[in-house]
């Protein structure tokens, strides 16, 4: 079954974020046959998304560059196994996520232990919204401001937020990737959004003051 003859099967949210790209199917076929120019074309198509994923999950430019490089080297090695059962970008991004998670596990440091990063300290956690009402955020936040807030999330919150809200993975997929329960994934996503809301409101209050 060739890539050009297959249709992506949109089975989850993140696939809908990966529409077909003109010229991509032909480039995949050529790259599978060993054409390095076509591989470079695929790199140009997907470098931003793969690098952004690595940078957001790691918050470290040097590591993000290394892992982007590793992801594309793995792509080169594995592209022959791509059969078009999902969109190419979905397949590539999952490969990149696996590269990052493997790296985090290899590091074995407390701040990247998945067990521990899923439980940030109480000080890092979001507060409840029981007290005085804040200004609503709707329409007031630009991409750069949100990006900065995401950088300031505790690593475990950031990981789940990036995978779910940015990359579009479902909770059952994230639970499989991080070896945690689906309930844990939902809980951490909620805490991440609450923490972001805190950070964004703090930014707004500083602007007003």
């Amino acid at each position: 079954m060739s890539v050009g003859q297959t249709q992506p099967k949109p089975t989850s949210q993140h696939m809908r974020r990966n529409p077909p790209i003109p010229g991509e199917a032909e480039a995949i076929l050529a790259a599978q046959a060993g054409d390095t120019r076509s591989f470079e074309f695929l790199y140009a198509l997907h470098k931003r998304r793969v690098y952004s994923l690595c940078l957001r999950m790691l918050s470290n430019v040097a590591e993000a560059e290394d892992l982007t490089q590793e992801a594309f080297l793995q792509l080169y090695r594995k592209i022959g196994t791509f059969r078009g059962d999902s969109a190419f970008s979905t397949w590539l991004h999952r490969l990149a996520v696996n590269v990052v998670l493997m790296h985090l596990r290899k590091k074995g440091l407390p701040q990247v232990s998945l067990e521990e990063t899923l439980e940030p300290s109480q000080d890092d956690g979001p507060r409840r919204d029981i007290g005085a009402r804040d200004i609503v955020l709707s329409g007031s936040i630009d991409r750069v401001t949100l990006e900065r807030a995401v950088e300031n999330l505790p690593p475990g919150y950031r990981l789940v937020f990036v995978l779910h809200d940015v990359e579009g993975y479902e909770h059952n997929e994230i639970a499989g990737m991080l070896d945690c329960s689906i309930g844990n994934s939902k809980s951490q996503l909620h805490k991440a959004r609450m923490k972001l809301r805190d950070l964004l409101h703090s930014g707004q209050r500083k602007e007003v003051a």
Binding site: R49, Y76, S138
Partner: protein, 108 residues
Amino acid sequence: MMIQMRGKEDLPLEKAANGAGMTCEAFQDRIPELMSGEVGSIHDHAHLKTCARCSALIADLEYIGEMAKDLLEGFEPPDTLWPKISKSLAQGGGKSSGKNGLGSITSS
């Protein structure tokens, strides 16, 4: 870790399900489950019909989730990255990651 129910969440299940007598704290403890959409739309929850604060909270959380979709391609890798990948491929890096995997790749 699952959300721990406490306080007025000890209400009978049918009461909790339609939001009757639910405090903001109890409602907010259920947000992860309610926002997943697996138990219907959170906007149909009775608590939101009478609580402007929690309605504003849900609006904010949904807004953050929507804004996140714009972050997909936020960063451009340095122009030096492709030459490094290309060089690694030319040296056989595309065939083997080396015995130490990622450790065989270095930043210059």
